[in-house]
Amino acid sequence: MIALAIFSIPLLLSLLLFNSRSNSNKLALTGLMTTLVVAIVGKVLQSYGHIISLDVPLIDTIGFHFSLILDGPAFVMVLLTLIAGIGILYSIDKEIQNANRFYAWSMMMIAAMLGAFMAADALMFYLCYEWALIPIFFLILKWGHGEHLSKITMRFFLYTLFGSLFMMLSLLYVHQSMAHPTFEMNAMWEAGKALTAGQQGWVFAGLFIAFAVKMPVFPFHSWQPSTYDHAPIQGTMLLAAIMLKMATFGLVRWALPMVPAGIEEHGQWAIYLSVISVIYASLMALTQKRLKLMIAYSSVAHVGMISAGVLSNTDQGTVGGLFEMFSHGILAVAMFAVYQMIESRVGHDRMNEMGGIRTSAPSFAFLFFILVMGSVALPFTSGFVGEFLLLQSLSNTGLGLAALAGLSVILGAAYMLRGFQKMMLGGKAIAFSALSSKETMILSIAVIIVIALGIYPNILIQLIQNIL
């Protein structure tokens, strides 16, 4: 029942907020914190042998279960969703129009994503995966900005909806191959593995296209930069920190255990595509003049690395992938929060037109620098542990591939430091007021998480490995 509580607290709050005029921010934050406490208590109880998962048959004829589990990978993603969610809602720095609706949609999206992460039923995963799209669609359309907003939002919506169709087909194909069809997780895994390698290859192709659109991976990424750019900043954070993790998590939870032979024998193209994506996105980041877009492309590069490492199907790849998902989620919230802090003070995010912010705001520069280091995967930051394990995993597929993907180590340093230098350093000092205590708090907590997990990653690794 605890798994159900984790899923339903945000959902019920969302429904409540649709019909309320109360102080939505406090309510939403309290709700997420309560959920976080519930999740942690649940995990502790589980370690003492309590059953906290839930399995309710819904439609027997097709074997559809409402089924939630909280194993290692699910728990880590739940933690990320809640911690990042709290950070995202806490980072709101100005009055929002129709605030209660804004929070309601955000909470509903969080609920859907929690559902996808905890789902132990393929159909339920699919439904939650799709359902999460509806709240973010309205968040962007209603609270976004820019000229072609509706066009951009539609492109995003249809693109990802279209991608997911392939997942549906793949899941149905596995489903119908069973004697007694069910969407239950273990049965799906077994049924998938029973297919021939060739069939598995097709199933994998369908899954990967759906995930590749969501992550995104080159060349399916073209919805992403403009969506990130025009979405309200909290919407961008939800997309980058949590939503895209449903896709990378989908690789770990559904693709790897279900069609391992298909990946190994007919799925190598996906690894190549991911590596291309890493380099392509790094080069794109290099050409960006605006901070928000630079962060957006840098995110594509990181996700490509996760995809390539995970698909190499080693222990290091799976664990490193989940670790990097967590780390990237925290860093994404923090980096976009940095963007918000700069944009709200300077009025734009064109890096060439800034300079010397460090002189006016030294502690901001200090915190930002550590985040930059986390983002370029410096050892003793969480970014390193994930990227190293992923690179190690990718080397099993091919040292040359690892070398190519590793170029992001160099390119990442180049564009990140260039951006940092242009904005923060130099003699021309633009006016920049000191951070508020709230802003300092957000960045400090992110920095503490990033460094703590870099120095003592084993705590997260052990959580992830509970079932591995």
Binding site: L283, T287, A403, V409
Partner: protein, 629 residues
Amino acid sequence: MEKLVALIPLFPALGFLCITFLGKNMSKTAVGTLATAMVGISFVLASLVFSTQLHEGHATMVKVFDWIHVGTFKVDISFIVDPLSSLYILFITGVGSLIHLYSIGYMHEDEGFNRFMSYLNLFVFFMLLLVLGDNLLLLFVGWEGVGVCSFMLIGFWYKDHANNDAAKKAFVINRIGDLGLLLAMTLIFIQCGSLNYNDLMISGGDIASLGKWTTLAAILLFIGAMGKSAQFPLHTWLPDAMAGPTPVSALIHAATMVTAGIYLVARFSDLFAMSEMASQVVTWAGVITAVMGASIALTQNDIKKVLAYSTVSQLGFMFAALGMGAYSIAVFHVVTHAFFKALLFLGSGSVIHAMGGEQDIRRMGGLKNHMSITYWTFLIGTIAIAGIFPFAGFFSKDQILAHAMENNLTVFVLLMLAAAGTAFYMFRMFYLTFHGKFRGTHEQEHHLHESPATMTTPLIVLAIASTIGGFIGFPHAIGESLHVHHWLDHFLSGTVVAAHSHLDATAEIILALVAMGVAGGMIYFAYNTYVSRGINALEDEEINSGLHKLLLKKYGFDELYDNIIRKPIDYIASGLHHWVEDKALMNIVDGSGSSVKGIARLLQGLQNGQIITYLLAMIGGLIALLFLI
């Protein structure tokens, strides 16, 4: 006693944290004292650890905690105490604490004093991790950590973008090397199943399972070393790194960090000894760097740039030694070089301090009358690097030459040339700076003064070390006839593959005399040119000779890399941005633009309608139902 080793990196880390978080309320004196004391305590502990190693001399591992355990991949935060690491921590903390002390005086007027001292402490912490880690991954932590500190300290005066550019260049070029090291790690783990020195070499010997990958692994490791130790063709960042304050140049870019590459190769001497080809690559990269650095240094007029190219060249000597299998001798040269090069940099800092920031030796001259401690200590450093008996540089360089003579005559001749060049450019700089007439402004002349005691004390200590430091590695052949053991070679023999020179005493003495004769000739030549005839170095626009211009332009590597690497990458990136990102992909996606618009209008209509409420009611009802079940 070995357990103490865990505390050694801890103190500088504490110093960094204290100054960063509590420094605002502390006086400059307190901050300076704290930072110096932290490294000083580490030095005391390092001496204790070192002295136990003198007696026992075997490797001990001290595990602190589990770091990354995933499946078969197990790496811990764990330290190794053995002759190699204990020697390194000894000179890192020793030279390090002297440079901290010096910085108190040198940086006293700077508004970023606290920041400076905290970065220095952080640097020492990472440098100690680098050499103390008992596995490659922990070495990599220190490796990248010192890189970041180097970045922050090169760009310490961040208001000037020239400094920031130099810092960024150092970091990015180092990252090229780091990628090599990363790939070496993944390769070694896949083939050997471990990253621990103990499994790989000391007791396990798993490194042998590399098989056909041996050469590749060694070369990838060496690419890492090339970045950090500024070896050709990744050497271009080091001279630019002189943009940092002078104590940084002394500590990071001369004595310690840049020798991490030598540490790495020496640590993996078992691996390099297995691959003749990799060893050849190391040798030739070293020789090319040694000759190239020395030749560029001949023409430089910035006192710190001369020293920087000299460092590049000396590091080349060390790699040449490593490539020829003389691992312990390379480490020996690291130690003596740390003494005399730190001394020379600190001396140049004292000069720059007195000259009010002037670094061009053409605007100096006659300083010996104004600052005698700096003059005499600088002279000792210059003699030591020129290779005159019995100063420290003589012993280590002489043995590298001896090895070259045995192994490869071409290498020997080239290194001999580089050594001759070293003697000349060092004394050229020395004479132009300290002898002759003062060539600066009247204002500068009036301002000339000896530096305060916090700065001269380290100079004196380092001068003593540069004078007698060479005796830890007395030449083998001569040593035996004089009943003095080659102490260092013996000490390190448990850790690195030992290499003894087979030259007999007579040959070694003849070689030493020839080398000193060449150096002496060069010194005389420099004296004759710059003191007797009183010639000043040419102004840039007076230079006509093509070779001279080429050297002054550092063989044009910066321009070359700009044209063959940076510009093409920028070109490709912006081409992709224009043609693929903005044109091709967008057209495919928006190809059916009208239909998209149609659906958009439809969905926008939903937004205000009742459908959402229905949807929510449905989901809510479902959940309520579930609770009932």
